[in-house]
Amino acid sequence: MTELTVGITPIANAANLYIAIDQGYFDDEGLVVTPSVIQTAATAIPSLLNDELQLALMTSVPVITAASKGLPVVVASGNDRYPVDGVGDTTALIAAPDSGVSSVEDLADKTVAVVGLKSAPELALRVVLEEAGVDPADVEIVEIAYPDMVSALQSDRVDAAFVVDPFLSEAEAAGLVPISQPFTEGLGGMTALTWVAGEQFANANPETITKFTTAIQRAAEYANENPEAVRAVLPTFTSLSPEAIENSVIPLYDSSLSEADVENYVELMEREGFIEAGYDPSDLLWKTDGD
């Protein structure tokens, strides 16, 4: 048996990992997988490089940022995709009803809060701003933690905020109105979270990576077919309330990942100034045959 410690954020997107553990998909591959909670990609990537973690689940934006700066990381597999239908999106851009902001067009010269600058939410926000004809340079994008967003909106410190559930439900209960769903409208269908490994570990252990991605692939299929199985594992690793789990929208698990997926991100990230132009992502996707 090979032991792996993998980094995850305790959100529904990681449920397929727990399903793979519960269904014995890792056992079938001869793997013993221990999940470990990570805070941000910025702390998880150093853990991958010093082998504290062998794989970690993170969004494509920080991975591409890190790789473009020369950090030796590879993406072993996809995990899920941004929803193509707003019904399946548990995130939204919200505004206070009396703020004068009722659509993305109104955001020029306004202040918008996101959870982290130069992150996937900011990328999605910038895409919807541009699609609405607003120059992102005219919008002040500030960083606020999710728990502080509702109070920041209520006290007019920001005009809009990009929140996720359960804070979205809290915001709607407080009378704040969704004006856009940037993940669906901006990044819909694009790969969301990905499984990342250190290049050195992946090159030294290609069979382990293949076994892991095989089990994750099986779990993704099982999770998509059995949403109740996802709800069943959520209480074991998230702090979501039973009501929130009952109402939660199950992510679209998809472990496929193509070069086109990566290139889409690189293109957007270059355009929005997240990374410098000229980064070649051809080595980012880990390939079994090692070329």
């Binding site: 941000t40 890190a66 600058l117 933690a145 109070s151």
Partner: protein, 253 residues
């Protein structure tokens, strides 16, 4: 080498030697986290001379100067009021000591909830930390007025205003300045800490963001800048102190 030249050369020699060691030890470094000093200095020049100064340095300096300024005025005023009365000083002593050792950073989450994430919050946090050294030193200094002065002043019926401004404060001056210097160090720390939460400007925010973006040379350049700013502020304070306390040195020689 005469004594004067040595006094000027020696303090410069050690930093120059350290920088030289850093330069040569890191030259050609391929470590991601410890880039060559040459790279760091190049990024430093590109970022801080003076492209990002309005965006990140100005807000940080504003917060420090406003926070420290308020602390100086408040600390000296309260310190004189408290220090002039033995009863008041004894009564509030334990409370002040308690507040002094309550780390102001611990109040950050509360301050964000109450005041929000703007410049007001940062200045408030700086005042909450920087006030105590000045206040406590002022109280001590005021209470340390030699009893002989008190007697002379009483027998000559000196006006309270003259008493405070011509005798008590000048006498407490060196101690007050020692407090201000301690407060300056606290201000720099709190400025940095407050910018790690809910900021989108400032040197602290810049360093955090550089770390998150894996922009390691940029992160080092920010740390270098922070050190230079702290050093420069201390130097300015020493010059002010030198002039304000000029009488004090004369009275001793």
């Amino acid at each position: 080498m005469n004594a004067r030249a040595a006094r000027i050369a020696l303090p410069a020699l050690v930093p120059i030697a350290l920088i030289a060691i850093w330069w040569f030890a890191s030259a050609g470094s391929t470590s991601f986290y410890f880039p060559p000093l040459e790279t760091i200095l190049r990024r430093f020049r590109e970022l801080w001379l003076f492209a990002l100064v309005p965006e990140h340095v100005v807000p940080s300096l504003q917060a420090i100067l406003a926070g420290l300024g308020i602390s100086v005025v408040l600390g000296i005023a309260l310190g004189v009021v408290i220090g002039l009365s033995d009863y008041v000083a004894t009564a509030v002593g334990p409370v002040l000591q308690f507040l002094r050792y309550l780390p102001a950073v611990a109040l950050l989450p509360l301050a964000i909830q109450l005041i929000g994430i703007g410049q007001d919050m940062r200045i408030t946090i700086i005042v909450l930390g920087a006030l105590w050294p000045i206040l406590l030193n002022t109280i001590d200094g005021v209470r340390g007025t030699p009893p002989a002065f008190v007697d002379v002043a009483r027998s000559n019926r000196v006006r309270t205003v003259d008493w405070i401004f011509r005798i008590v404060l000048p006498n407490a001056g060196p101690q007050i300045f020692a407090g201000i210097r301690a407060s300056l160090a606290v201000s720099v720390i709190l400025m940095f800490a407050s910018e790690l939460l809910g900021a989108s400007r400032g040197i602290g925010y810049f360093i955090l963001q550089a770390q998150r973006q894996f922009s390691i040379p940029e992160m080092w350049s920010g740390m270098l800048l922070l050190g230079i700013i702290g050093y420069a502020l201390n130097l300015i304070l020493m010059v002010i102190e030198h002039h304000v306390l000029a009488w004090h040195r004369k009275s001793r020689t």
